[in-house]
């Protein structure tokens, strides 16, 4: 999962162009990720100001029974 820090985001689209899955949508100050995101993390590298963080969720999900 990609986490966006709105405070840092410049809404510049560097992540949009770098995304190989076309999973990011930008309009003025709105930045949205859709389900096509593969967690590849390229957008994290592309972001000049560090507004994006890759949160690794796979394998960490707690099974419902034990939650």
């Amino acid at each position: 999962m990609i986490e966006l820090n709105d405070d840092k985001c410049m809404h510049c689209g560097a992540c949009v162009g770098a995304c190989p899955a076309n999973a990011i949508y930008l309009n003025e100050v709105i930045l949205d990720f859709n389900d096509d995101c593969t967690d590849c993390g390229l957008c994290v590298k592309a972001c000049p100001v560090g507004a994006l963080t890759l949160i690794r969720t796979r394998g960490l999900k707690v099974p419902a029974a034990t939650a």
Partner: protein, 397 residues
């Protein structure tokens, strides 16, 4: 003021490439809509604002005081040791010849398009391509909460680095990390610069890219950095490297930041194919940025003119097939392709060099007389002194 239901040509993106395409299509008789998702053309700026004087040769634009603010006489390229070479703006067919105000420049180009008959819709996003039996036949737009379908005989994708239109249409615009850069820039004031020069700093100050100082005056300049994604290790490196550079440069230490600008820039070879039935791509969307400098304004404008002209020819001939649109492929490639590939190879080489090798390069280049600063002459001179540096480039010499 609301767009009509149907146009000959819909251009997506009101940057320099889109406005120029729209302008040349409209002035030659096509019915054109230019769609821009931002509420203000040209703003916010995402650019270092350096342009070569080349564009004035190819396209009918005259320097206007609203955006043409500082014509420089040369570019200085500093190696890691601080030695530099000076490239004369007139002699080198260079990327930087003047520093402009991009927001006003983009508005100027859009206004030219409007004067030549194009309709412009701002705060209007293209959200998808319309298709008729697989073929593109228009765009869906969203504007003030309302969606509408607009028919078009031809769609021009000029939507920049983000290039959604290209991807919707099935072009492969995916970039490798070695062909993509992350960029950050401050517009700074309270400086003491020599406004006659644009400065570039290469080496480990900016892995895989460079730091630039593009002055608007003695007091104001764009100070920015581009880093190659393949060299970036963690988040926010562009900012960290740029802040580090500024802290170390006495001309910049006491400056204030008036504006922060960021963005992605491709430094790839151009796409193999920028046309398909009923669609053409232009500018950043077609990866026409110069891979060595990261400059894309001139190329987008130069290709935009060809794109607009071919659009009208297609409208007249009522032929929007990919075969007909080869006129555009051929036209823009004749003007730009050779340099794009040459600069791509030069970039590939440069990013592989360490500080020591870059210093050698600067040292050799500073000894080449200015008149001869062509890629060929430079490579020849390097071969004489450091043959190992140019081994892979023998065929270029």
């Amino acid at each position: 003021m609301f767009p009509k239901d149907s146009y000959d040509v819909v251009v997506v993106g009101g940057g320099p490439s889109g406005s120029t395409s729209a302008r040349y299509a409209a002035r030659n008789g096509a019915d054109v809509l230019l769609v821009e998702k931002r509420q203000e053309i040209g703003s916010p700026v995402r650019c270092g604002e350096g342009v070569s004087m080349e564009i004035f040769k190819h396209v009918d634009i005259k320097p206007d005081s609203s955006w043409f603010v500082n014509q420089v006489t040369g570019a200085r390229i500093f190696g890691p040791s601080g030695k530099f070479i000076l490239i004369d703006a007139k002699k080198a067919g260079d990327e930087v010849g003047a520093v402009i105000e991009r927001d006003n420049f983009d508005k100027y180009l859009a206004a030219e398009a409007a004067r030549d008959g194009a309709e412009i819709a701002t705060k209007t996003s293209v959200v998808s391509l319309l298709r008729d039996g697989g073929e593109v036949c228009g765009v869906r737009i969203r504007r003030m909460g309302e969606e509408r379908d607009i028919a078009a005989k031809l769609v021009i994708g000029a939507d920049g680095f983000e290039s959604q239109v290209a991807r919707w249409a099935g072009f492969n615009t995916n970039l490798k990390t070695r062909d993509t850069t992350s960029n950050l820039q401050y517009r700074m004031t309270n400086l003491d610069l020599d406004p006659r020069f644009t400065d570039f700093y290469i080496g480990s100050v900016a892995p895989g890219g460079y730091v630039w100082i593009f002055p608007k005056s003695r007091d104001v300049a764009n100070v920015g950095i581009g880093l190659l994604l393949s060299k970036i290790k963690g988040p926010s490196e562009a900012k960290d490297y740029l802040d580090g550079f500024i802290a170390s440069d006495p001309r910049l230490k006491n400056a204030s930041i008036m504006e922060t600008v960021s963005g992605g820039v491709s430094v790839s070879a151009p796409l193999d194919k920028v046309t398909a039935d009923r669609i053409m791509l232009v500018g950043d969307a077609a990866r026409m940025i110069d891979p060595l400098t990261g400059g894309g304004i001139s190329n987008g404008v130069i290709a935009g003119k060809v794109c607009g002209e071919v659009a009208v020819e297609a409208v007249r001939a009522k032929d929007f097939s990919v075969e007909f649109l080869q006129r555009y492929e051929k036209g823009w490639r004749e003007l730009l392709e050779e340099k794009l590939y040459r600069d791509y190879m030069a970039k590939e080489k440069l990013v592989s060099l360490d500080d020591e090798a870059l210093d050698k390069l600067i040292e050799v280049m500073s000894a080449v007389p200015l008149e001869n600063l062509s890629t060929k002459e430079i490579l020849g001179a390097i071969r004489k002194k450091y043959p190992e540096l140019v081994k892979e480039f023998e065929d270029l010499i």
